[in-house]
Symmetry: C2
Subunit: 422 residues, 2 copies
């Protein structure tokens, strides 16, 4: 695959197209997943510029790689462009932590992804196009719910964690998915071969290298990543003596952005942010990990189809049919697969979460089974649950969600509590 | 590709893997893009269950198809599952409109995607696995900024468009991307062959059928889609006599959800929602079209790298270097490509936008060049611009953004107005 890349020139003589790649090309650096140092692990090279250097399946930027391709097609971007990483280094140092060199702890992100300009300096100098898969910066975040918390006395400004104007000081990190396929397969209890084959076949034939290139163990899938918001000192996350308040939150655009009242997503998220602020002000540290898994990773079209089926079913919108309606449309209740979620906690060096702001038994199980201790769980305050979200809350509590209140019985679950369509 | 699909059974004898598909298989229905009726157009079949029925490249659910594959790998989902579409039909009828049968007006979504259970009833009965690519439902959305608007008297409750509790009544639609490749290529001014090749090569080899199957003209790319929020009667969108207030908004998770103060995204979005509510209360209709194009479709990792480069550059965070910093890291200033954005407006039958709540010249140009008239443009009120977002606003206004205020000169653009990193 050493064909030199050329810009697309409409009308130019066609270059030879290579439909697949083969092992044994020259120039690709090996990846030893879970090695103790960056030098031994080797860089993840997903470049499309010098294909002989590639040591992964797929490419960077998750699903935005498709937009990058459009930019080349439109003539707006040179396919030879290499990122100038001047001044982009992380604002805060994360790790390295012992978990980084345990290949069972992290399988879905590259722990060295934030510091490539530093740890792979010599490989970059040698001409390898190594791109960060993680970026760390600082921000001031201003949420109307936090301003309300200040006004009502739930929160106090201290000028450090929270300003009088309602701005919370955070370190934030964006993380792209980097999957080590043997480890991902182990998490899901299937063989690596089965995983590769299903990823290929059930996406309608995405990346044949998944099945032809068993020598390539790392896959950069075209999916959304995650974003971390850290309140307090990021180094404290790895110290189990410092109180850690954390929420792992899965995207729900309809509530998180638009405030739809059919679920508790944004109210629970902003409650968690208030808890994180208070925790940091007590001398602890706070974390919100936000994952792009819209509608239980079923996507928003499926989610809205399910809403309609729930609202129109005979008997009304009831908790006892809540999961069944999703399963009818999607075939499963949930595709979020919390099995991969704890990776980011291990990247941060976390050993103990003192206060987990989540009622999800699936998240609780995934975190504790990955070896992280959880102290107490913080449920969403009742007054923050919108009326139309009661169906979801009842159904989840009945199915095993953590709750300090009563678990609804069968009769309670059969009561239509959701609003009908108009 | 007539191999019957089988569930993955770990340890079972391996089935034959087909690495690519070939034209001329039996059973696939033709797609005549832009045909006048659904029957003539034909259904989009992206199923992975009966591969001989497929008439597209890629599969459903955008990037969530990867999670669907994981569900099969984990044994949680049968690969034979077919969606039960009972009660999922749209709550509101959209179209058909004359624009649906103009193949130059809509190239990136399937106008018949919401009503497949109805318009392709006989094909579904014949065993084709046809899935909706659009879902339409109704919701109550409650935003703290709208509640504040009620409290401060900017907004009035009427019980119809807006309740006294601050809930706005909306019809909302989720839309997955469905690309007709000849039309997409035309929008970007390149040949279909070049587009197919670049989509394949610049994604690191995603979907070889892009280059091997020129008979398949439709591609379901693994990217995020869009969501529409409609205030008032959706049928009024197509009536140019009814005042339409509209914003086309591109995702910015850091501001839209978390309220980061480095840009104006959420303040402008919530301002647009207030404008939509007021417009609907005047007897008009409002629309917010939300596209998953995080960080100008560069993704959030690139966005955060650029933030760091801006804040650390010699001379501080200045408007005159605003676009240059993005270009250094990403190779382009922007990858959102507003060329495809107007499709959704044509799907809604829109001919005139009376009040466009956007200052973007790129969005304005794309909409008007697609044949939709724009009346006035509504800028973001000055008091809603966070202090640290002044750099972005100055840079954009200097680059051609609509503004009612003064355009900053070269000296003004060189002043560091952004906050430094701590």
């Amino acid at each position: 695959m050493a064909t030199p890349a050329e810009p697309v020139k409409p009308g130019a003589a066609p270059r030879h197209i290579r439909l697949t790649s083969h092992a044994g090309g020259y120039g690709a650096l090996p990846i030893h997943w879970g090695a103790a140092t960056a030098a031994e692990r080797g860089p993840v090279v997903g470049t499309t510029t010098q294909r002989s250097h590639r040591n992964v399946i797929g490419t960077h930027s998750g699903s935005y790689s498709v937009y990058r391709a459009l930019a080349v097609a439109a003539g707006a971007l040179s396919r030879h462009h290499k990122a100038d990483l001047t001044n982009t280094a992380p604002t805060d140092i994360i790790g390295p932590y012992p978990q980084w060199s345990d290949p069972s702890k992290i399988v879905s992100l590259d722990p060295w992804g934030a510091t490539v300009a530093n740890v792979f300096e010599s490989e970059l100098a040698a001409g390898y196009d190594i791109r960060p898969t993680i970026a760390v910066t600082q921000a001031h975040v201003i949420l109307p719910e936090v301003i309300e918390g200040l006004q009502k006395g739930r929160l106090q400004a201290d000028g450090t964690v929270l300003t009088a104007g309602g701005a919370a000081m955070v370190t934030k990190a964006a993380i792209e998915p980097v999957w080590w396929l043997p480890g991902v397969a182990a998490r899901f209890g299937c063989s690596e071969n089965d995983l590769r084959r299903v990823l290929f076949e059930e996406t309608g034939g995405m990346y044949p290298e998944l099945v032809t290139r068993s020598d390539l163990e790392v896959f950069l899938p075209p999916i959304g990543g995650q974003t971390l918001y850290i309140f307090g000192n990021p180094r404290d996350l790895a110290n189990p003596e410092v109180e850690l308040t954390a929420r792992v939150h899965d995207e729900c655009n309809g509530s998180d952005v638009f405030g739809s009242d059919i679920c508790t997503c944004r109210p629970y998220l902003t409650h968690a942010i208030e808890e994180c602020i208070q925790g940091a002000q007590r001398g602890g540290v706070g974390l919100v990990a936000y994952s792009r898994k819209e509608g239980r990773a079923l996507g928003e079209v499926t989610k809205f189809l399910v809403y309609n089926a729930r609202k129109r079913q005979v008997g009304g919108d009831t908790a006892d049919q809540y999961f069944a309606r999703t399963e009818c449309v999607a075939g499963v209740q949930d595709m979020r697969f919390q099995e991969l979620m704890p990776d980011v906690l291990h990247w941060l060096g976390i050993k103990k979460i003192h206060r987990l702001v989540s009622m999800s038994n699936m998240k609780f199980d995934a975190i504790t089974q990955s070896g992280i201790e959880i102290g107490t769980r913080v449920n969403i305050p009742d007054e923050l649950i919108p009326a139309d979200a009661r169906v979801e809350m009842d159904a989840k509590v009945a199915a095993g969600y953590f709750s300090t209140g009563p678990v609804p019985d069968a009769e309670e679950l059969r009561k239509p509590k959701g609003r009908e369509l108009t």
